[in-house]
């Protein structure tokens, strides 16, 4: 384009619309795919998918996938994998249920102890991977067997949950402190509006920061489009949530709050902290990370501790939803979590991945789960379809990379 001048080439004021779309095609592509899948199932289920209560049920039944995907994406970025999360869900669920039902422990204390158990399991697996040097695949494969076995031993047939508060975690909503505005929960509407405002503000602020640093920001057209699309999506979700529920309560499910808190905290950790930088450094080039002074063993260890903790959180959510601990809980949860990460753009070889990507990947899996379930499709067929979606998503990712490069 430019000929060799003595003076430096003048920078464009704005990068073009097409250029921005091309550079971020992966992220936009995944979100676009999610929207398409939602629309497809909305059509196939004749509108049932996006009915308010069905939508809430989607969140509550698939929350575990998002929770596990958050931990899994960090583990995969660092070039490890964790196959034991499903078994940990069963084991910790069993412990929690037994504490409450057979030991008479208060439900809040039972939750606390269960989370600590999750941390301890994480330390156990982290120790073998980080300090003994057994690959994560083997250690967590062993964990998968160990904790499934232990779950079967302690749970036996099943342990039903009687505590109404505990069962409420996966069923209840935030209290309607702003009352009902017609058929809508007032609090939900307010929260929705605040979310849209925050998104718009953060996009504009990021644009201003980039411009201030002397670089060329994305075209205003793209920023405005992003804000409008987000407003529509958030608005639609707000609308559905505000209408959801029954006579007693409705609006924002407690599960959604738990998810939002976890997503925000872990996204912050991965993108804005030293630990997050360490994770990407270890995943991208372990040798360079070691020679830069990073304690890679401690990073590996910490990642499995986080995964253990999040598995315990998922266990509590699943236990609350099913209202009973069984030895078979959590079967193949690790597959859902791993698939979510790769659908969401995590690289197979490590070093690349994001929490938002994993969440969108989990939502894709969740919508497929829910949509096919509403359509009454056999679970075996659902499995086949999910497998094909995973293969297709990673294939598209690899092929588009190859085309670019």
């Amino acid at each position: 384009m430019s000929t060799a001048n003595a003076t430096p080439v003048k920078k464009n004021k704005n990068t073009g619309v097409l250029e921005t779309l091309a550079n971020n095609s992966k992220q936009y592509g995944i979100v676009g795919a999610l929207v398409v899948i939602v629309l497809v199932f909305e059509f196939l289920t004749k509108g049932v998918l996006l009915k308010p209560n069905s939508f809430v049920s989607l969140i509550q039944q698939n929350a575990y996938v998002i929770i596990l995907a958050i931990g899994m994406v960090m583990v995969i970025i660092a070039t490890h994998i964790d196959l034991s999360v499903g078994s940990i869900v069963a084991f910790v669920g069993g412990i929690c249920a037994i504490l409450m039902e057979r030991q008479g422990v208060n439900w809040m204390l039972a939750i606390l102890i269960s989370l600590v158990v999750g941390l301890i399991i994480g330390c156990w697996q982290g120790f073998w991977v980080a300090y003994v040097g057994i690959p994560g695949f083997i250690t967590t494969l062993a964990g998968m067997l160990i904790f499934r076995g232990l779950a079967t031993v302690i749970v036996g047939e099943s342990v039903p949950i009687t505590s109404p508060q505990f069962r409420g975690i996966a069923r209840n909503y935030l209290p309607n402190i702003l009352g009902w505005w017609g058929p809508f929960d007032g609090l939900t509407i307010v929260v929705g509006i605040i979310c849209i405002a925050l998104f718009a503000w953060s996009q504009l602020r990021r644009r201003a920061k980039v411009a201030k640093a002397g670089l060329s920001p994305e075209p205003m057209a793209i920023t405005v489009t992003k804000i409008v699309v987000a407003a529509l999506l958030i608005g639609f979700v707000t609308y559905l949530l505000a209408l959801s529920g029954n006579a007693d309560q409705g609006g924002i499910p407690i599960m959604l709050v738990i998810l939002a808190v976890l997503v925000l905290i872990y996204n912050f950790i991965l993108t804005k902290t030293v630990f997050g930088r360490h994770v990407y450094a270890v995943g991208g080039n372990r040798k360079a990370a070691i020679l830069s002074g990073i304690n890679t063993k401690r990073v590996d260890f910490t990642l499995f501790v986080h995964m253990g903790f999040l598995s315990a959180v998922a266990a509590i959510c699943v236990l609350s939803r099913l209202s009973s601990a069984t030895a078979q809980a959590g079967m193949e949860f690790e597959m859902d979590a791993i698939a979510s990460c790769f659908i969401g753009g995590t690289a197979v070889t490590g070093g690349i991945g994001t929490i938002p990507g994993a969440v969108v990947g989990a939502l894709v899996m969740g919508v497929i789960n829910q949509g096919l379930s509403i359509m009454g499709v056999d679970t075996a067929v659902v499995k086949t379809i999910k497998g094909l979606v995973l293969l297709g998503a990673v294939a598209v990712d690899i092929l588009t990379k190859r085309k670019k490069g």
Partner: protein
């Protein structure tokens, strides 16, 4: 490859041409080799052919013309003019340093080495491949190589223990590795993330990154080192070898060291970028840092060092002052065989 092996290879290439009519295409930065072996030179810059030169006995290679074509401008010297600094305090001293092979613990890789580097000095480590220089550097830098390591390390006169890389960095050492793509850079991240990798604690508060400080520091060295890029947010994998090496240097200078060990700092870099790296090294020495340069190119060490240690088979054989800088003399030290000592 050292000079002897290089000569062998060139002879083989000549034989292939003369006896079998095989045409060889040699891609090289080494101007003396090109002058010796090539019949015909094509010069490529920034992905495009910029010239062709034919070499015959009547028209030998004009190195200046070649360099001008490679770089796009005239280079009067290969090495910047630099007056040695008056050396200051001793910043690094290694005493009786012995390192065994990590797997075969009976093999001695570094044998009772004694090395010192003072503030403002540029000290070279010359040796053939396998002499143990990289192993020496890595074993000092946080015991990153070797087993059964013994000896003493003194930083600024005080004896220190450097059991891991972070301890070495905290003590004021920096080590820019031999192979930047394998050991030095995360090719999946951008310039900013790579340059800050050794200094994350400095740029954070209670574990949370301060983006402004990070950006400011990296931008400063982007300008200082003339790293050619659109911004510090571009992926380092897209940079040329010379610019990648500058990012590695920036990473280590940002960590604020007193002692820099540079292992093959200009390997795989074109003539123009090499000159810029030498200028950076000189500047760092002028600022009072102690610099140790490991290199397989004797002319390079002769061109930029104030003092050169020769290393052979893990033994530091000589400490040569500037007036002894000839390839022949240095070669003596680099090829000295180990004495079999009757014990």
């Amino acid at each position: 490859m050292n000079d002897e092996d290089s000569a062998h290879l060139l002879n083989l290439v000549r034989e292939l041409r003369d006896e079998q009519g095989v045409t060889s295409i040699i891609i090289s930065h080494k101007l003396n080799e090109i002058a010796e072996i090539a019949d015909n030179v094509t010069i490529i810059r920034d992905g495009a052919t910029v010239g062709e030169m034919f070499i015959t006995p009547e028209t030998p290679l004009d190195q200046d013309e070649l360099i001008r074509k490679m770089v796009g401008r005239s280079l009067t010297n290969l090495y910047p003019d630099h007056e040695s600094n008056k050396p200051g305090d001793e910043y690094l001293r290694i005493e009786d340093w012995t390192v065994h092979h990590p797997l075969d613990q009976s093999r001695v890789i570094v044998d009772h080495a004694n090395i010192a580097a003072r503030s403002g000095e540029i000290v070279g480590l010359a040796g053939l491949m396998g002499a143990g220089r990289t192993e020496l550097a890595m074993s000092i830098f946080g015991k990153s190589y070797g087993s059964h390591i013994s000896g003493k390390v003194f930083v600024k006169g005080k004896e220190v223990s450097l059991p891991n890389v972070q301890a070495a960095i905290d003590a004021g050492l920096a080590y820019a590795t031999e192979d930047r793509k394998v050991y030095g850079l995360n090719l999946l991240q951008n310039i900013r993330e790579n340059a800050s990798m050794a200094s994350l604690e400095k740029m954070s508060v209670h574990g949370v990154m301060n983006d402004n400080i990070e950006r400011k520091e990296v931008e400063e060295y982007r300008k200082d080192f003339h790293i050619k890029c659109n911004s510090i947010d571009v992926n380092v994998g897209t940079l040329s070898g010379g610019n990648q090496q500058k990012v590695v240097l920036a990473k280590w200078v940002i960590s604020d060291p007193d002692i820099l060990i540079l292992d093959e700092p200009t390997r795989g870099i074109d003539v123009g970028a090499k000159y810029e790296i030498y200028e950076i090294i000189n500047k760092l020495a002028d600022e009072g840092k102690a610099i140790i340069v490991i290199s397989s190119e004797l002319p390079e060490l002769i061109g930029i060092c104030d003092r050169i240690y020769t290393v052979s088979q893990g033994v530091v054989t000589d400490n040569v002052a500037k007036n002894g800088f000839t390839q022949e003399y240095l070669m003596k030290g680099m090829t000295k065989e180990k004495e079999v000592v009757a014990r």
